[in-house]
């Protein structure tokens, strides 16, 4: 492997408390190669979302990055000034949040929300933006003539796809997806993630995929990191994480998923 696209080195993040600090991320290091889907799995409170926010420096006080580096193509994100940071966000790192479908502005037409992004970052005029919007909507299987509709006129899955389309409009190098489909049905979830997977192959971006659903993660990701209480306890290819989990916590996570066929998996774990 040549130089990784994103390289996180010894990242430590604290939440500053009045008396004591809470270490949310503890000395975490991992790389994401160009075009790769890297998964970060763990339960709520394990620090996976804190990492996601830190990558585009969207973390807010009381979160504080104590030490470490976040290198995107060798450049440390933590050293960027405000101006550089503005163009870095979205253009290089885009984010899809868990409640992304609610992050669309309800009083603006979808078209206007694309225009916002495209004008700010690429100085497009209305006409150019409209063409680009149509192109992006086609990518996520939404009819371009619906760009003049408002968000509430779309279903949850469609809204999530629109957010993904906005994210991809600037050709980012990496898309951070924090529980992108948790609020959606399994069928819609599958449709969206397959679309993301196809787009990734076509457009070549990387994905940092965050979820607690290990089964899904093994299907989608190339490599997976397992987090427990702020530490990255295991990191391996998806197949290895599934076939031969090393850490006890990974095994425990696997035992928590009832399976569809064969033994009900967890009965041994339960009794």
């Amino acid at each position: 492997m040549t130089q990784p696209l994103l390289s996180i080195k010894n990242l430590t993040i604290d939440y500053i408390g009045e008396n004591t600090d809470f270490r949310a991320v503890d000395n975490v290091s991992f790389d994401v190669a160009a075009g790769e889907i890297f998964g970060l799995a763990g339960e709520s409170g394990c620090g996976k979302s804190t990492i996601a926010f830190a990558i585009s420096r969207l973390h807010k006080p009381p979160a504080l990055i104590r030490s470490g580096q976040i290198l995107l193509e060798g450049r440390d994100v933590l050293d960027l000034d405000i101006q550089a940071l503005r163009s870095f966000r979205w253009r290089e790192v885009a984010m899809v949040f868990q409640s992304a479908m609610n992050s669309l502005n309800p009083v603006l037409r979808v078209e206007a929300q694309f225009y916002d992004v495209l004008r700010t970052h690429q100085g497009m005029n209305r006409k150019q933006a409209r063409e680009r919007t149509a192109e992006m909507l086609r990518l996520v299987d939404i009819q371009p003539d619906r760009m003049s509709d408002y968000p509430h006129q779309f279903s949850g899955g469609m809204r999530q796809r629109i957010v993904i389309a906005i994210c991809l409009a600037l050709n980012p190098k990496i898309v951070v997806m924090d529980e992108p489909t948790t609020a959606l049905d399994v069928v819609v979830q599958r449709e969206i993630l397959q679309r993301v997977n196809e787009l990734r192959k076509k457009l070549g971006f990387s994905v940092l995929f965050i979820t607690h659903d290990l089964g899904l993660m093994v299907q989608v990701c190339d490599r997976i990191g397992i987090m427990l209480e702020g530490k990255l306890v295991e990191q391996n290819t998806a197949q290895e994480i599934y076939a031969s989990p090393q850490h006890d916590y990974t095994k425990k996570l696997w035992a928590s998923f009832p399976s569809l066929h064969g033994s009900k998996t967890a009965e041994a774990f339960a009794s």
Binding site: V187, Q194, Q219, K252, S256, F257, L260, K264, F269, A270
Partner: protein, 304 residues
Amino acid sequence: MSAGSEPILKLDRVSKTFGSVPYLVKAAQAVSFELHPGRTLALVGESGSGKTTCARLVMREYEPNEGELIFKGKPVQTGNAKALADYRRSVQMIFQDPFSSLNPAHTIAYHLRRPLQLHQRDLKGKDIDAKVNELLERVKLDPALVAPKHPHELSGGQRQRVNIARTLAVGAEVIVADEPTSMLDVSVRLGVLNLLNEMKRDLKLALLYITHDIATARYVAEDIIVMYAGQIVEWGNINKVIDNPQHPYTKLLLSAVPDPEIRFDDPRAHLQTSDVDEVRRISAVPDARSICIDKDHFIRQVGA
């Protein structure tokens, strides 16, 4: 659907519509099922399929437009306040969100003491406290630790256990659980599901388990109903339905369940598009649906 025992609760061709023509939504159409003591029925479908409408019909939150509910062999009377109160005592619900279903201003002990005072009037003073402790122990919480606490001091899994204890305090015989584990962390989900399984076995409760996750449904349920667009499209023994689904929607739902064996690049991972198309075609054209019903093509029972 399951022979051997008398159903405790039966829905007989129950329908519920919202709005009026031309915006009439048929949220539940001629839904029939039975709940048996000591058995779990899973109700599976995507959002908007009518699962929660069914739960609310069972809870008598909604009055059905057509059809009736038969509880212990008798139709549930709507006018009779006493009969309705009896019904409400016997049929209890566990909600999806454990964070908003407990009153933040009251202790856990209070949450359990109130239903005991209201519904088991012969219990007095110390007996009530003893019963509260017994209930907490039953759901595997430490009474000394948990009883004086407020809901915000408990984790999601603990709160859901308190909710289960609360249904037992009232003396529930039928429990409707609407996605009880979807907001919990994966590692505590199974604990809650195991508890439900145990309650069902030991207390002969009848459980209606509502979810869109077929894998957890299989973990707790013996029987399954698959709903789509307000209708039951397939029902039967859960293992038979999973191993040999008949309806295109059931097949679609099963193929979308995450399976670590099959990676996305594997052609098997792709949703069967013919299924997607067929399901959408059926749902988009209401006439097609009624035609299908007439021909007994759309609805099939699997392995009675």
